[in-house]
């Protein structure tokens, strides 16, 4: 800087400005990391880290879901039911259904019965390999514990994290 006296009447504060530059540098780094986290799926809906699976992929029940979801948005929970034909009875845990709203299930099963801890559905399978997709809307924030199972068969547990 020049050694001449400054005649300018200005609210300049170099020390504060340096802090602001540091804040901007940190902020930009955080912004890049946030976008990277979003790409990886940490902010919900897709991405490598968000894709979750539960159950044996060759077993009678295999579930694919999103680990990170957003409150107010929908995500898909896909059930792969293998090895049985005819009437397949499966259930979804009731506490999970209290925190989410199932918009649709494709193909549509019939609700067979509602029990204290679970809702039982039945679907007619024409082949031994059936895939059902639950379109689930997440209405609350926080950790959502879910359990899905086959009546007289295995069940799987999974956890979704619903963010703002």
């Amino acid at each position: 800087m020049s050694n001449k006296p400054r005649s300018l009447e200005i609210d300049e504060d170099v020390a504060f400005q340096r802090k602001e530059w540091i804040f901007q540098r940190i902020g930009l780094t955080a912004l890049f990391l946030f976008v990277l986290a979003a790409l990886l799926g940490l902010t919900g809906m897709g991405g490598t880290l968000s894709r979750g699976e539960a159950g044996d992929s060759n077993g009678p029940l295999h579930v694919e879901y999103q680990r990170f979801v957003r409150r107010g948005s929908s995500s898909k929970v896909t059930l792969h039911l293998r090895g049985a034909t005819g009437a397949i009875r499966f259930w979804v845990s009731a506490p999970y259904l209290e925190h989410v709203q199932i918009d649709s299930v494709v193909p549509t099963p019939n609700l067979e019965s509602v029990e204290t801890h679970r809702h039982i559905y039945v679907i007619q399978a024409g082949s031994p390999d059936v895939t059902l997709t639950l379109n689930v809307k997440h209405e609350e924030m926080g950790s959502l514990e879910a359990e899905v199972g086959l009546v007289e068969g295995p069940s799987v547990r999974f956890t979704q994290f619903s963010i703002f």
Binding site: I10, E12, Q17, L28, G72
Partner: protein, 150 residues
């Protein structure tokens, strides 16, 4: 209540984002910047109103934004430090015909931009004709010409 909280969250988020991006981010709006601004406003609109397209919800959003802005303006005037944090400070980038390179670089101001400001506002031809160039809080460059250049 949800709408007011959403609005406050979006307001503060935008404030932080534009403070991080620096004074110059949208000071000179190119055609692409203008489109970007429209996309940002469209994206935030979704977060502000959610799925409720009622007139009451819109009124709550607009009223909340105005109240927030007035509150922030009052706080900026009331507390100097808060004003600096929210609105930044002007920075001298040229002093007696010399570019203060470190400051200009950190603020993302280039010499051609400073020369342009000098030409536009005072018809200055060379950097030596500048007494000061100041990057203002709003991101614009104001120029004080040297006495002998007038």
């Amino acid at each position: 209540m949800d709408t007011v909280l959403r609005t406050a969250a979006v307001y503060i988020f935008l404030l932080v984002i534009f403070r991080i991006s620096g004074k110059r981010s949208l000071s000179q709006i190119t055609t692409f910047d203008f489109i970007l601004l429209l996309i940002i406003s469209e994206a935030t609109q979704q977060a502000l109103v959610g799925n409720d397209f009622s007139i009451v919800n819109t009124v709550v959003v607009v009223a909340s934004l105005v109240v927030l802005d007035l509150t922030f303006s009052w706080m900026e005037n009331r507390w100097t430090t808060f004003g600096r944090v929210v609105g930044s400070l002007p920075v001298v980038v040229v002093e007696y015909g010399r570019l203060l390179e470190d400051r200009a670089k950190r603020e993302g101001v280039t010499l051609p931009e400073i020369l342009t400001a000098g030409r536009e506002t005072h018809g200055l031809e060379r950097l030596e004709q500048f007494k000061y160039a100041i990057l203002e809080r709003h991101g614009g460059i104001s120029v004080v010409p040297a006495e002998d250049s007038r």
